[in-house]
């Protein structure tokens, strides 16, 4: 294992503006046999990856062109019929809308709050900030089933935390049937998702902010910049790459996490008003025995998340800032 040569760092003082890339000459020193050794080492992993990731993904695409119940040998090729039916399926469109709504709401709110909290925690030397960080991070390690149980207590229409507090404040008019009102339920799900994710993103942003050199803040303070100005002109540009990475996470979680949460909390109800793409896909593929149709929804989910990730990544590209 020790055969891989670590390149000596040469002159150890690192100059600002120069990334610590491999020192020149390291590549030539690498023996020829190393390449083969690396390939052999990678082979098992690549084989597993192909078997468990690439092949199933290709199967999804293939199955979306068939009408199949999931078990029998009767697979009927139907071409793009499944996709044509999707366009007419009101419930599919509603699930799609819900997914997009969750994606937008959860991303904007979590990112905004996460950034704000991270900035406050790193820049303002808050007393007990480790405690806050700990408390905010806890929801992230909870199982979704526990989260669903917690929010069942929070949203309870009679003795729930929210409605109870509102009653206490004599704001009875603001009380809602949080999980029973078809126009409110998706926001209730969104709130639970924000609550769950906030701590995680806050910690990521804090880690990123901690690496921003203190001198920059000191220099800008001497120039008379306030905390707000510092945040927008120093912090934000310097953690830009981290922000872009988390945006991809948001897209993934809006698709995946929303499914588990909806399944545990509302079951897609009332009357399908909180269904999201994956919960509808599950319903179609299994409960409704339309496996091929479910896989067509899977293809849409795949294409959608891929496309959105690509667009977001393109739209947020900036020349990397170095310091």
């Amino acid at each position: 294992m020790t055969s891989t040569v670590t390149p000596p760092l040469g002159d150890t003082e690192r100059k600002p503006g120069r990334t610590p890339a491999a020192a020149p000459g390291a590549a030539t020193r690498r023996k020829r046999g190393d390449g083969r050794f690396v390939a052999v080492c990678l082979l098992p992993a690549l084989a597993l990856f192909a078997l468990f990731m690439i092949w199933p993904t290709l199967s999804v695409f293939r199955m979306s062109l068939y009408s199949w119940s999931g078990f029998s040998a009767q697979e009927r090729f139907v071409g793009l019929d499944n996709f044509a039916k999707l366009l007419d399926d009101q419930q599919f469109l509603r699930s799609f809308q819900n997914t997009v709504a969750l994606l937008v709401i959860v991303t904007v709110v979590t990112m905004g709050l996460g950034l704000a909290l991270a900035a406050v925690m790193t820049r303002q030397k808050l007393r007990g900030r480790n405690l806050y960080r700990f408390v905010l991070y806890i929801p992230n390690v909870l199982s979704v089933v526990v989260i669903a149980a917690i929010f069942s207590a929070v949203y309870d229409q009679e003795n729930g935390l929210i409605n109870g507090t509102l009653r206490l404040l004599s704001l009875d008019g603001l009380q809602q049937v949080w999980l029973g009102d078809q126009s409110v339920v998706i926001y209730s799900v969104a709130f639970a998702m924000v609550w769950q994710a906030l701590g995680y993103y806050m910690v990521i942003y804090m880690a990123s902010m901690a690496s921003v050199p203190e001198e920059l803040y000191e220099a800008s303070a001497l120039d008379g910049a306030g905390a707000g100005r510092q945040f927008f002109t120093i912090t934000l540009p310097l953690i830009w790459e981290t922000l872009r990475t988390t945006l991809t996470f948001f897209i993934l979680s809006a698709v995946n996490l929303s499914f588990v949460l909806v399944r545990a909390m509302t079951g897609g109800g009332p009357d399908g008003s909180s269904d999201v793409l994956l919960s509808y896909m599950y319903q179609q593929a299994y409960t409704n025995s339309s496996y091929g149709y479910g896989m067509a929804i899977g293809v849409v989910v795949f294409a959608f998340s891929f496309l959105v990730s690509l667009l977001v990544s393109r739209a947020t590209r900036r020349p990397p800032l170095q310091y």
């Binding site: 078990f71 029998s72 229409q157 009332p270 009357d271 399908g272 091929g292 149709y293």
Partner: protein
């Protein structure tokens, strides 16, 4: 140093274990000893009765290796293997589950014909299975294609109806309504005292409600027509009357119903009955066990009544849920599986099941039911009440169309006013027509 070889050995052992785990459940290495694989859903009856049963059967058949797989999420565990072509020999699973495994296999015609089992002699006894079965058990629920071939053996049966608190009715001097007119009168009386007439755990519980109501309104023939998607059936006056009665009943629903009608909170709707906040809910025998630790009003006593008749003296149907056992076509030991199925109807097996309140449709067994649910089974003794078995026929799947979701879940939208009864009827007509066109 010892540590490194030890760690390597441990890693190697783990890797081997993983590989073994992957290949596990494969072929029975035990030579010519046959393996009978039984998969059972662990429902409200618990798992003890199955382990006891398997032990008893194993003792009788030493030449057979009987293996039991039992789980609350049975479908998730057996489906992957089934997709890979490894089938259990016998499966005991209720219908109407979310994963809809039984229904899918029926749609696929992937079940073994079990008509022969009915004429088999029960092992260790003189009678045939058919002779032991209670009357009226072989029907749409066991012969899913509407012919005389049986694919689903009826295992356990349970009545479902309107569950209520007997003590509250006695205390207030109210009569359990026998007609819908009396029902709505009671609704007004109860409302004046701050009690809601109706609630449901989740909209899915309305299945037994609708089946009985359809049969009460239009008779058995109409019920079968609805279940088999007869052309234009949802545009008939009977269908409209069914929806109108339901809509009227839903206007008396407890206002908390919809907000709690989800997987997480449905017990809060059931609690409303225990707390005397609502009078009736559609439910089954399992609710007694499900809510056994819940607090309740003083003197609370479980009771069940069938749906009221449409007019005085009219027929009243009691929807009966039948849990069934079946053999997948892909099973390896079909003969051993059929022997085992016949054994399930033996007195010995019935006794083991009855201990866990799992009541089989065997003649004369209902009288042995004890405890709180005895009254539920007692309803079958009432001559004016007819048992109703069956549900929507299994058509070929239609993408994006589910008649059950359309019929049941819309109730949530009716209560909240998001949909009208006209929209409901139109959606049902649409779904029913599409399913009929898809054929079976």
């Amino acid at each position: 140093m010892f540590k490194k070889p030890l760690a390597l050995a441990a890693a190697a052992a783990t890797a081997l274990g993983l590989l073994a785990g992957c290949s596990g459940g494969g072929d029975d290495a035990g030579g010519d000893k046959k393996t009978l694989k039984i998969a059972a859903f662990e429902g409200g009856y618990g798992r003890d009765m199955y382990t006891e049963l398997i032990a008893a059967y194993q003792a009788k058949n030493p030449g057979l290796d009987v293996r039991l797989q039992i789980s609350k999420t049975l479908e998730d565990e057996i489906s992957p293997n089934m997709k890979a072509g490894k089938f259990p020999d016998v499966v005991v699973l209720p219908q109407g589950r979310k994963a809809a495994l039984s229904e899918t296999l029926v749609k696929d015609k992937a079940l073994e014909d079990l008509t022969g089992v009915l004429d088999m002699t029960v092992p260790g006894e003189q009678t045939t299975v058919r002779a032991k079965l209670a009357d009226g058990m072989i029907g749409l629920g066991t012969n899913p294609y509407g012919d005389d071939k049986t694919y689903l053996m009826p295992m356990f049966y349970a009545p479902t109806g309107l569950v209520h608190n007997k003590a509250l009715f006695a205390e207030k001097g109210w009569k359990v309504p026998a007609t819908w007119d009396e029902m709505f009168q009671l609704g007004e009386t109860a409302k004046a005292q701050g009690v809601a007439l109706f609630t449901y755990p989740t909209a899915g519980y309305l299945d037994s409600f609708f089946f009985a109501l359809l049969a009460n309104v239009g008779g058995d023939e109409f019920f079968t027509k609805v279940m088999t998607y007869e052309q234009g059936i949802w545009q008939t006056p009977q269908a409209r009357q069914t929806l109108d009665i339901t809509t009227r009943l839903l206007s008396y629903a407890a206002k908390t119903t919809v907000g709690y009608a989800n997987e997480q909170d449905f017990t809060k709707n059931q609690q409303a009955i225990l707390d005397n906040k609502a009078l009736f809910m559609p439910n089954g025998t399992w609710v007694v066990g499900e809510m056994k630790d819940a607090p309740r009003a003083k003197g609370f006593a479980w009771a069940m009544t069938p749906l009221p008749a449409v007019s005085a003296g009219g027929k009243r149907h009691l929807t009966t849920i039948v849990e069934s056992a079946w053999v997948p076509s892909g099973a390896v030991n079909k003969d051993a599986a059929k022997d085992f199925l016949a054994y399930l109807y033996s007195d010995e097996a019935a006794k083991i099941f009855a201990k866990s309140s799992a009541i089989q449709p065997i003649k004369g067994i209902a009288s042995s039911v004890t405890g709180e649910i005895a009254g539920f089974y007692g309803l079958y003794d009432d001559p004016s009440i007819t048992a109703l078995v069956g549900g929507f026929a299994n058509s070929a799947p239609v993408e994006g169309v589910s008649i059950k979701t359309t019929l049941f879940d819309t109730a949530n939208s009716i209560i909240s006013g998001d949909k009208t009864v006209e929209q409901w009827q139109a959606a049902l007509h649409d779904a029913s027509e599409k399913l009929r066109q898809a054929g079976s």
